[in-house]
């Protein structure tokens, strides 16, 4: 019996103590008609040896194409120490730290994480994580609506240049609460979200919050200072959506405009979390000090013990569902503790200088990639706005079959922008992080050139 320690003697003794004859007698309060039969649809149990063989074969089958896609999930180096430590049983198999004295490891680590995220975002408060960047943004918007006492309108302006999957997630999670998500157009030349478009989306009516991705989905840098100042002047809160790696070099949300964004969120994935087909990742959420009581999710505070020594515990639990139930700031119950553990160790290993080097290397590699691909006739940047470490490229031939041919060669060549932005024509979004070598970039360019040439003269 895998994972069950009972010997026959144990079971007999225990049943005798309880005073029943069989294991089945323990279910005697359940109406007989409800009892399940054999679960024939489930295969018989496998020893670890056999499931290991199966999983190894399946993992191998998925291959490991060379990745030139970012689009919300980034292929970064993860130090070996990160997961060797995060997977230690004491982190891996502990629960939410309800008994603070027996959970100082997790609690202190979460406090350190909160400290790192406030340092990165330039905001005063960070929670201990949410599910991922997209659902975290939804929580941020609910929070903004609750927090914005000056504006009762449940309207939020959302750039179309925000990640499409994030926009879809928002629709699922906040639309049912009567919140209206108003799209903002992007400029076809720059790829930025212009102030004029924001004004047009607002339509002169009050709105609770403006979402500001930096960089936006196209990798383009938004004029966050002007947009932040304008939106706050309208009484709206500004919710920044940021990639933490870029914050090593980009102005943090806390510094946007005159007074800084009110809330910032994003995905922790680029900080030590493997791509892993999309999860588990972790969302982070930071805000101004005065918004802390509207914060969803776990918060760890530093306090003192009976001897006056510092220690850590979950705090402001009165916001949460297990206390406040229907009136909680969110239904959220878990954070993504294990991923936060990895991210915290990752950031400690990189430090501020290391993270800046990673950001620089990503920018340099993407620039090299764009240069190389740009040498191919018909390929050119789609937008002329400033970018960070992703770039949208126009292609001379249809993107989808090209990407298919590339993947057959073991290259994940880019994200097909036509899937969500048909108006952009044949265009892809590419990214080359610090782990891509010059050889890999040149090889990609060479193959792409051959594939395009094989399709005849570019139009």
């Amino acid at each position: 019996m895998p994972f069950i320690p009972h010997t026959e003697a144990d079971t007999a003794d225990m049943l005798a103590t309880i005073g029943v004859a069989t294991l089945d007698d323990l279910f005697d309060e359940i109406p007989a008609g409800l009892r399940a039969g054999a679960l024939d649809g489930i295969p018989p149990g496998l020893p670890e040896m056999d499931i290991a063989r199966l999983m190894q074969a399946r993992a191998r089958a998925d291959g490991q194409p060379i990745c030139f896609v970012g689009a919300g999930a980034y292929d970064h180096h993860i130090p070996a120490a990160v997961w060797q430590i995060a997977a230690r049983g004491e982190f891996y198999s502990a629960y939410t730290p309800y008994q603070a004295e027996a959970s100082q490891g997790t609690l202190q680590l979460l406090f350190e994480f909160q400290s790192m995220m406030t340092a990165l975002t330039g905001l005063a408060v960070s929670n201990a994580s949410l599910y991922d960047g997209a659902s975290g943004l939804a929580e941020a918007l609910l929070m903004a609506v609750r927090a914005n006492r000056g504006v009762t309108a449940r309207r939020i302006l959302v750039p179309r240049a925000l990640h499409p999957a994030y926009r879809r997630t928002l629709t699922t999670l906040v639309a049912s609460q009567g919140i209206e998500l108003i799209p903002i157009a992007f400029d076809a030349a720059t790829g930025q979200t212009p102030l004029a478009a924001v004004e047009e989306a607002a339509g002169g009516e009050p709105f609770a919050a403006l979402v500001l991705p930096q960089p936006n989905f196209f990798g383009v840098l938004e004029e966050v200072d002007a947009l932040t100042d304008w939106a706050q002047a309208q009484g709206a809160l500004v919710v920044g959506v940021v990639n933490p790696v870029t914050l090593a070099r980009l102005a943090p949300p806390g510094d946007w405009g005159t007074s800084g964004a009110d809330i910032a969120c994003g995905d922790v994935q680029p900080l030590g979390i493997p791509l892993a087909s999309g999860g588990p990742y972790a969302g982070f959420l930071c805000c101004r000090q005065d918004l802390v009581r509207q914060m969803p999710g776990r918060l760890v505070g530093r306090t003192l013990d009976l001897d006056g020594r510092p220690g850590f515990s979950l705090t402001l639990q009165a916001r949460e569902q297990h206390i406040r139930r229907a009136k909680a700031t969110s239904n959220i119950c878990t954070n993504q503790g294990l991923l936060v553990t990895a991210a915290t160790i990752h950031l400690a290993l990189l430090g501020q200088a290391g993270l800046a080097r990673v950001a620089d290397a990503c920018r340099a590699n993407t620039a090299r990639l764009v240069d190389r691909l740009g040498e191919i006739p018909g390929i050119a940047p789609l937008f002329n706005g400033p970018t960070f470490h992703e770039q949208a490229l126009r292609l001379p031939v249809p993107a989808a079959p090209l990407l298919q041919d590339l993947i057959a060669d073991g290259i994940l060549g880019g994200y097909d922008l036509g899937l969500e932005y048909p108006e952009l024509g044949s265009a892809i979004l590419v990214c080359a992080t610090e782990v891509r070598t010059a050889d890999e970039i040149d090889e990609y360019a060479a193959r792409l050139r051959r594939l395009i040439e094989a399709r005849g003269t570019p139009t």
Binding site: G19, Q64, A81, L275, L412
Partner: protein
């Protein structure tokens, strides 16, 4: 000491960052960060040592018995971790084509099939990232169902008063009003009260069965009939699924939708509070609304169905496919258990709970529901000890830590005073349970002879009892570069 306090300007784990690029594209001044973020600057050994030592300050399943009621702290098999972390799985970008994910998708498809069979639900989505998101998805599907039928008057969700806090919170997030149903003295839902509260305004009811008070809801047939007759749907909160896995199927009990907490029943890591995963199973009538993505098997292989193929879906709950790595762990676990292992989980979890229940009540502890069969967990109330000895459930809990046991859940459910909700799980030995009983008896003796010892517990942990009131009043939520409070 915080890692931030160990920081020194210019120190670095130099092997961990790339060489500086020779040329760097221009970044306009206005976008640039002015001051470096105050991230810790430490050596690799400092980081490794700091976090290794920090980990040792945790209780965990791998180091202690952890009978935290409602959390199902059973053994998380190490193989599940190793196999979910295979490089082939980790390296896959979420936007890679399905053709480069057939191995992964085969696992996820088969996991869907396993969940269908073991819950008795004809359709499953693995998308929700946690139990609470599963609840949201479930209630959102109920809402979508009524709306699709034009049945827009159904604005209420019924929730028993003993329910997990997530239930009412999730219902509210979906725009519903919550109506509470009282629990009877025997632990079952008060069906008379239910009948009063149900009606054309009822969108559905959210139930945990076995309930949060640790007993099987005997009136489940009547409840299902009552709610269904009124046009409402039944939501099964799978938090306690471990208690009945493979023995009774929520689908057979009449539920229309269920979420499962994989970190409970399917033994995925608790990770200090997550990640979870909250797959949902539904009856045929809710199938059109399942959250995306869902894995489909075709003659050409497996593929992910998204909003495109499932236009009536309630939509997407996270950016990509949910907590995939957790799903892989659950898949490995489910395959190791197999069809014969699933009911054994329920049997031995129930055996352990009832054995502990019996031994504790025989030792003179008061059960909250003494005449009921325990499910996988049960409630002891220490109201007598609190009153007579001035030693509370919290004191017992803290003192247990000194004995090397994690505490049970305290003060939940709210309706039982001074309660301990105790869930031993099926993976603990009889010897471990006996040791726990002995510790509780000793602590009660201590409460009689040296109550301060118990009231001031714990005594052997890295910190003594913490001042939670101070934590909330004098909020200190982050280290600041300028602060002088680095003494911790």
């Amino acid at each position: 000491m915080l890692i931030q306090d160990a920081s020194r300007p210019g120190r670095r784990a130099a092997a961990q960052s790339p060489s500086p690029p020779t040329t760097l594209p221009d970044l306009p001044e206005r976008f640039r960060r002015r001051r470096s973020p105050a991230l810790p600057e430490v050596s690799e050994l400092q980081a490794v040592r700091h976090y290794t030592r920090l980990s040792q300050k945790n209780f965990s399943i791998d180091t202690q018995f952890y009978p935290l009621g409602s959390c199902t702290m059973k053994y998380n098999p190490r193989a599940c971790h190793a196999l979910a972390m295979l490089p082939g799985f980790l390296a896959r970008h979420p936007l890679a084509p399905d053709a480069h994910g057939q191995g992964l998708l085969a696992c996820l498809y088969e996991l869907q099939e396993i969940f269908k069979e073991v819950t008795g639900m004809p359709a499953v989505s693995l998308a929700p990232a946690a139990g609470a998101q599963g609840e949201f998805a479930g209630v959102a599907m109920i809402r979508a169902y009524h709306q699709a039928r034009g049945d827009t008057a159904r604005t209420q969700i019924l929730v028993p008063d003993a329910a997990h806090g997530t239930n009412p919170a999730s219902a509210v997030m979906c725009g519903f009003e919550v109506r509470e149903i009282p629990t009877g003295a025997d632990g079952d839902v008060d069906i008379a009260a239910l009948r009063e509260r149900v009606g054309p305004q009822t969108a559905g009811i959210m139930l945990t069965n076995p309930s949060t008070v640790g007993v099987f809801e005997r009136g489940i047939d009547a409840i299902a009939a009552t709610v269904h007759e009124a046009g409402g749907l039944l939501y099964y909160d799978g938090a306690n699924l471990n208690a009945i896995l493979g023995k009774v199927r929520p689908g057979d009990m009449g539920f229309d939708v269920i979420h499962m907490n994989l970190h409970k029943t399917f033994s995925t890591p608790h990770g200090g509070g997550g990640p979870g995963a909250g797959p949902v199973g539904v009856s045929r009538r809710l199938e059109p609304y399942l959250p995306v993505p869902i894995v489909e098997r075709t003659e050409q292989g497996y593929r992910w169905l998204t909003e495109r193929e499932r236009p009536t879906s309630i939509g997407r709950l996270t950016a990509f496919g949910g907590n995939i790595g957790i799903l892989l762990r659950a898949y490995v676990y489910a395959r190791m258990l197999g069809r014969e292992g699933m009911p054994r989980v329920a049997e031995y979890a129930t055996l352990n709970a009832n054995y502990l229940f019996k031994r504790l009540t025989e030792a003179g502890f008061e059960a909250a529901y003494p005449r009921r069969r325990a499910s996988h967990e049960f409630i002891v109330t220490l109201r007598r000890e609190a009153k007579e000895l001035g030693v509370t459930a919290m004191d017992f809990a803290k003192r247990l830590l000194d004995y090397g046991f994690h505490a049970p859940t305290t003060y939940f459910p709210l309706l039982v005073p001074e309660c301990l909700l105790i869930e031993p799980t099926e993976t603990e030995t009889k010897e471990e349970l006996d040791g726990f009983v002995e510790a509780l008896i000793k602590i009660r003796d201590e409460a009689r002879t040296q109550p301060e010892l118990v009231r001031e517990a714990p005594h052997s942990l890295p910190v003594r009892r913490l001042d939670d009131v101070r934590a909330a009043r004098r909020l200190d939520l982050a280290w600041r570069p300028t602060s002088n409070d680095g003494e911790s």
